[in-house]
Amino acid sequence: MASKEIRGIFCDVLTEEMAKDKRIVVIDADLAKCNGTMGLRKIYPDRAFDVGIAEQNMAGIAAGMATCGMIPFISSFTPFATRRICDQISVSIALAKCNVKIVGSDPGITAQLNGATHMSVEDVGVVRSIPNIVIYEPVDAEQFRQAMPQIINYDGPVYIRMFRKAIDDVFTAPDYKFDLFKADTIKEGKDVTIFATGIMVQETMKALKTLEELGIDAEVINIHTIKPIDREAVIASAKKTRAVVVAENHNIIGGLGSAVAEVLGEECPTIMKRIGIKDRFGQVGKLPFLQEEYEMTDKHIVEAVKEVISKK
């Protein structure tokens, strides 16, 4: 069900693209082993290197390299790739229009046993309010494989919110075509729209079974690119179903739920409910426990769907 680890794909695509494009460099801050980029150092010793545990410096070095035409990928765990270097992202990367790709791994509750300090509940909120930066969160191996070259070709800063381990495949159709700036409709439906991102897409797929049994025809749309959000897709679906649930692995403040609410509030006010971390910090635990604790399971999605439909 799950194909290759996402970090394996990250490394594979970089290995290929770095061979074709000398501008790509990969910089780590002592988490190359975790993020799967260690192997690149053997193949491209001058273009894949570590700056030590110094994320702010890493962001600044990357910005400087970008001004010379390079395309740097910098990586850490999500909190240290975003909130720790927020000002560097804002000034040296986004304001200065530097083409840096920022990769954060273990988003939200997927930091598991590393606990609260490593559990970013706010990274999307932090980055989303900085102008001139794209935020992309992969769903599965195939989508990420297609996304990487588009991210490399896009001339500007991108934040990749990367779950790094193996995860169930969602996009299995042989003709699946990914577009970085277009939401992916996974299933059409008429009663409710579930906008989901990251690991919550897999959770939504689980919920679909129960929803079907309940006779609810749900539309499922993956908003993989949280910024700029595909406004047309959000509006069109909300107009059709008139009830919305948003599911994300992030604080319900500042993330995809907020982004969808902003669009709907301005364009077509629609009853909606947000599934995600309800303005709390993280804690240690394994994923199934954390999903229950933070009310982020398929069951919670089903309940939210029932609620919004009842309020239509």
Partner: protein, 270 residues
């Protein structure tokens, strides 16, 4: 407490730290074991603390800035009597008060939340400055990693500790020469740390971090110095005390333990 007793405490800290991590099956064993001797001296000889009153006013404080060494600190705290030894089995278990990284809101005896490297030492500077203003005679101890010292914030904190003349601050650098991706030499050198901290204006000692007497002597020395913070560079072995952990070198940062490895490790620490 004398050297022999402190040595015995350090041994127990190693034993229970390993038991915590191996019972769970995974954890930051390397950087926990490297500071066991220091923790024994701090909690069982130097620090003015009261396990029955963890928030005692005017107590000495310890900031474990390399917050991933939580398991070793918890073992020391339990041995000191802050909470029952049994609780050590709850490391990282759902709803625990003993998470991977030190959290002052969860664990009695933990003075500062840490885990995002580089931040704890600044908090230690703040605590030392507060003690100066309050004139309460409290001392502040802080433990930083050598990899952690690649964070710019560590050096910002060092500058301020010197500028503020914080002679009540004693920082220990766990110079085990390893981080996650490799040795500190390979990744980002912090070589000659003693010289670097001297240049910043610290009173500096460089010692064997597993030598109880040397640790005690460095703290005694620090107490004699006026108007300067002290930095003690501890030459340590990451994973100290368990041969297969030590031999894993850089890979001992975080390790998995199966039942056999757990038994072998605990046997060696008896």
């Amino acid at each position: 407490m004398g050297t022999a007793e402190l040595r015995n405490i350090a041994k127990q800290i190693r034993y229970y730290t390993t038991d915590e991590i191996a019972t769970l099956g995974v954890g930051h064993i390397g950087g926990s074991l490297s500071i066991a001797d220091l923790l024994a001296v701090l909690y069982f000889k130097e620090m003015n603390v009261d396990p029955k009153n963890p928030n005692m006013e005017n107590r000495d404080r310890l900031v474990v800035s390399k917050g991933h060494a939580g398991p070793a600190v918890y073992a020391a705290l339990a041995l000191k009597g802050y909470f029952p030894m049994e609780e050590l089995k709850t490391l990282n278990v759902e709803g625990t008060n003993l998470p991977s990284h030190c959290d002052r809101t969860l664990t009695p005896g933990i003075d500062m939340t840490a885990g995002s490297l580089g931040q704890g030492i600044s908090a230690a500077v703040g605590m030392a400055k507060a003690s100066k203003i309050l004139d309460n005679g409290a001392r502040v101890y802080c433990i930083i990693g050598d990899g952690e010292s690649q964070e710019g914030q560590v050096w910002e904190a060092c500058m301020s500790a010197v500028q503020l003349k914080l002679d009540n601050l004693i920082v220990f650098m766990d110079y085990n020469k390893m981080q996650i991706d490799g040795t500190t030499e390979e990744i980002m050198s912090v070589a000659n740390p003693a010289e670097r901290f001297k240049a910043f204006g610290f009173n500096v000692y460089e010692i064997d971090g597993h030598d109880i007497d040397a640790i005690v002597a460095s703290i005694d020395g620090a107490k004699q110095v006026k108007d300067k913070p002290t930095m003690v560079v501890l030459n340590t072995v990451k994973g100290k005390g368990i041969s297969f952990v030590e031999n894993a070198l850089v890979d001992c940062h975080s390790m998995n333990f199966n039942a056999e490895q757990k038994a072998a490790a605990l046997e060696e620490l008896k």
